[in-house]
């Protein structure tokens, strides 16, 4: 029905106007003369050019801009292009602001306008000429409004020498296109929003001092606004207020044009939360090269995991592993390296599979999420303690005699299994540290398909295991390692103390997350577990009778299970999530609203996304953020310090991390008061100089000159 009507209309139009230009008659007058034009005389395959829809209105009548204002409809162009062609969005020349009786404000064009559209032909065109068709529709108004439309077509030759066409006309309207706002002026614009409306403050001198400067809004379709009003602001700035009739809560600003006489600048308001493109750091990953780059980042990140402060306690363990290997033959060393690598891969692939499964189940999964689960930390504590006791010699792990007999290379196999487990263990402790690059890479990976997540984790595993594999393949580098001897027992015991230090840290994390009592209950369970280990080492030795061993094992089982049930299941389970104790010494608790509120008052804000279990975070805090020089700079520049404590995986913080493309802590973000929509992300390993430089750049100008 409608197709038939359209066809009839089309045929009627064809009869009325056989020329490519079409007209719209009203009381015998042509209201709008429309025509399709190109800025080239012929098409070069693959070479973009600009097409234009030329509308000529009779005097007094107008068509509308992209945002028509209080009434009216924007002109539309529907292209019917041959396959392989691409049309860009309409580039709208700066419109006129027109006032109709009754304070009706509209944006449109009188007399004539050329709407520009970038067109890209395919790289190969077989025919000698191409017909480009478009259906244009518009609303033209004077005292009354009449909708109009036309099916237009232009025919262009393909190939040959392409020379500019319609040059004057295109030049005239290109000159009327808004320009992108110069980077230098970006910081001179600030948006805020209250119940009544949006507020745009322009502090740029050349703009603010121009008498005619105006703001033409480009609201999203769901945003209903009143008329922008211009006011003088403090110290020579100007302020545009735009009343809100309806707008989503998340909309904090508007797109639009800053119009100053003949020229206009296009300004894009910030999207809800910082958009990735507004963040200065971090590549925008796309396409295959993006993926390759991210896999490389994953690899580098994995490699750097070895050097991060949070892996330090385990590094000693790994070195010990290599010392053990030093006495072995080459094949065996390489075998151990492979086993260690396999352990690392097993952990990361296991994590990837778990992530993919949880992602599929719709959970909000973030890097190091396992450390936000207290039961995971309890499990880790138990493993670390058992390892420490083993290193102290409280008990030895020996395989049953039946497994040993008849099997050649038993020790080698045990070595490989040990290396494998060490690989797993080292990695478990390393995961909460998101090394530089890794944050970006993982942030990207989590938004991707299961295959890419898996690839990403494999890349990280490869990066982390690379040095070990290299060392085991080139054991010559191990010649600097001392010969094995009785001193190894002492080293082994010393390692035990390192592990106990790690245990202390884990218990502290539990204390922060669930309170002191909870940490004590877990310690009580660990004590019972230690006694179990001691019983195993003392009374369940291979020389003891089978009956004795069974009885001892049963007793250990009863002890560990009942204490686990009582201390963990009962006492610890009843503990509450503790409120963050991190907000002191001038740090205030983070919330997105708080950040906006402080920015609205003209304060720069620094946010430290941290967690009790994140050693990198603690390291940065102790060595940089809490240092006298940095503390002093915060105070001097009046920068608000906020802490986002992610110890218990606060969902609001998780969401904010995601907005920055991150899935873990640490993350350091500085919102400068001069450019609140362009937060600056600092690297994950801070230095004093770096932080001081950033703080100074965000300092209010007045304060800086003091």
């Amino acid at each position: 029905m409608s197709a038939l009507r359209g066809l009839t209309l089309f045929l009627a139009l064809l009869l009325l106007a056989p020329a490519p230009a079409h007209s719209q008659k009203y009381q015998g007058r042509e209201l709008v003369d429309s025509r399709l034009l190109a800025d080239v005389s012929s098409i070069t395959p693959g070479q973009p050019f600009t097409a234009g829809l030329l509308l000529k209105m009779v005097p007094g009548w107008h068509t509308y801009w992209q945002f028509p204002g209080d009434a009216g409809i924007p002109t539309e162009i529907k292209w019917q292009l041959p396959p392989g062609w691409k049309a860009g969005p309409i580039q709208w020349p700066v419109p006129l602001k027109l006032n109709e009786p009754g304070d009706i404000l509209i944006y449109g064009y009188h007399d004539e306008v050329l709407l520009l559209v970038p067109l890209t032909p395919p790289a190969k065109i077989d025919s000698t000429s191409v017909a480009l068709a478009a259906e244009a529709s518009w609303l033209v108004c004077e005292k009354i409004c009449i909708p109009g439309g036309a099916k237009l077509q232009m025919e262009l030759p393909v190939g040959g020498e392409s020379t500019p066409a319609n040059a004057d006309l295109f030049a005239k309207y290109r000159a009327r296109l808004p320009l992108p706002l110069p980077a230098s002026a970006q910081s001179a614009l600030q948006w805020s929003r209250n119940e009544k409306g949006f507020r745009l403050t322009v502090t740029d001198k050349s703009l603010a001092q121009s008498a005619g400067v105006d703001f033409y809004p480009l609201p999203e379709s769901a945003t209903v606004i009143g008329h922008p009003q211009r006011q003088g602001g403090a110290d020579g700035s100007i302020v545009f207020t735009v009343p809100i009739e309806a707008a989503e809560k998340s909309v904090q600003s508007l797109d639009g044009l800053l119009v100053d006489g003949d020229h206009a600048f296009s300004i894009a308001g910030s999207r809800p939360g910082p958009s990735i493109s507004a963040i200065k750091e971090g590549p925008s990953p796309n396409g295959e090269s993006g993926l390759a780059k991210l896999l490389l980042f994953g690899f580098i990140g994995g490699f750097i995991l070895n050097l991060m402060p949070c892996v330090l306690p385990v590094i000693s363990l790994k070195i010990f592993g290599f010392i053990q290997h030093a006495g072995d033959n080459r094949a065996r060393i390489f075998g151990n390296g492979l086993a260690f690598t396999a352990g690392i891969f097993a952990w990361f692939i296991g994590l990837a599979v778990l992530m993919i499964a949880l992602k599929a189940a719709g959970h909000e999964i973030t890097w190091a999420f396992q450390f936000t689960n207290p039961y995971f930390i309890i499990g880790m504590s138990a493993v670390v303690l058992v390892f420490a006791l083993n290193l102290f010699g409280v008990f030895e792990i020996t395989l049953p005699a039946s497994a040993t007999s008849g099997l050649l290379g038993w020790s080698a196999r045990e070595g490989y299994a040990g290396s494998f487990f060490q690989g797993v263990f080292a990695t478990v402790l390393a995961t909460p540290c998101t090394a530089p690059y890794l944050g970006t890479a993982l942030g990207f990976a989590f938004a991707q398909s299961a295959a890419i997540i898996l690839l990403m984790f494999v890349a990280i595993a490869a990066g982390m295991s690379a040095p070990y594999l290299l060392l085991s393949a080139q054991p010559a580098w191990l010649r600097f390692v001392p010969r094995p001897g009785p001193w190894m027992i002492r080293v082994k015991q010393l390692m035990g103390f390192f592990l106990l230090a790690t245990l202390l840290f884990l218990l502290w994390v539990l204390g922060v997350a669930r309170g002191v009592d909870a940490a004590i209950w877990v310690s009580a369970f660990l004590l019972a577990l230690s006694i179990g280990c001691w019983m195993f080492g003392s009374f369940s030795t291979p020389v003891a009778s089978r009956a004795q061993r069974s009885v001892v094992l049963a007793l250990i089982l009863v002890l560990v299970l009942s204490s686990g049930f009582y201390f963990i299941g009962n006492k610890f389970g009843a503990s509450q999530v503790a409120t963050s104790s991190m907000t002191k010494d001038g740090w205030i608790a983070f919330s997105p609203e708080r950040v906006q509120a402080e920015l609205a008052q003209g304060h720069s804000v620094f946010v430290d996304f941290t967690a009790a279990w994140c050693i990198t975070c603690k390291f940065n805090e102790a060595s940089v953020l809490e240092s006298a020089a940095v503390k002093d700079a915060f105070a001097r520049y009046g920068i608000v310090k906020m802490k986002a404590d992610w110890t218990n995986a606060d969902p609001v913080i998780t969401k904010t991390l995601k907005q920055f493309g991150r899935v873990g802590v640490p993350l350091y973000v500085l919102y400068p008061a001069t450019a609140p929509t362009q937060p600056v992300v600092l690297p994950e390993l801070l230095t004093q100089t770096l932080v001081l430089d950033h703080l100074q750049s965000a300092a209010p100008k007045v304060a800086a000159t003091k």
Binding site: A71, P101, C145, A222, G226, E245
Partner: protein, 203 residues
Amino acid sequence: MKTKLLTLTLTAMSTAALFAAEAPKVGAPAPGFSLSDSGGKKHSLGDFKGKYVVLEWFNPGCPFVQKHYKSDNMQGLQKQFTGKDVVWLTIDSSAPGKEGYLTADEANKQIADWKMKATALLLDPDGKVGHEYAATNTPHMYVVDPSGKLIYSGAIDSKPTANPDDIASSTNYVKVALEEAMAGKPVTTPTSRAYGCSIKYAQ
């Protein structure tokens, strides 16, 4: 000279203040008014306390109004809701000499020609009520609930075109708002951007 300038400035400012009077907010009480219909009968918003009231800004010359009348869409809605005890007031704010201005006789003819089913066609040639509501478009729709509170303001539907073929595939915001409010539910879209011709107010 100075006084003249001052008077001029003050006049300009008060005019601006008058027009800048904020649009009534959805959720706030709808501004009261009293207008004569095409039969000369006075209607006040206050008369309809306890009932849902739809306000529809109208200009028979406007293609967007024609879209909804020539397709019988508007009459259908008027019939459906007046049948449910809703008061439907169609308001013409076109100034004399401008498109859409109707004398009482012309208005009655228009009602008959288009078989309009509104409760009344109110004439607002000086645009006072239109300004009171900050109505800008024809059609421009408002819904007032039985307590006198404004619960919808904006377009008639979700497709801002003059093509009647688009009606079937669009969401009618007025219908949805009325149905939701009557069912005791919050209105999903309480405000939208009105579309159509500008109202042809007096200079």
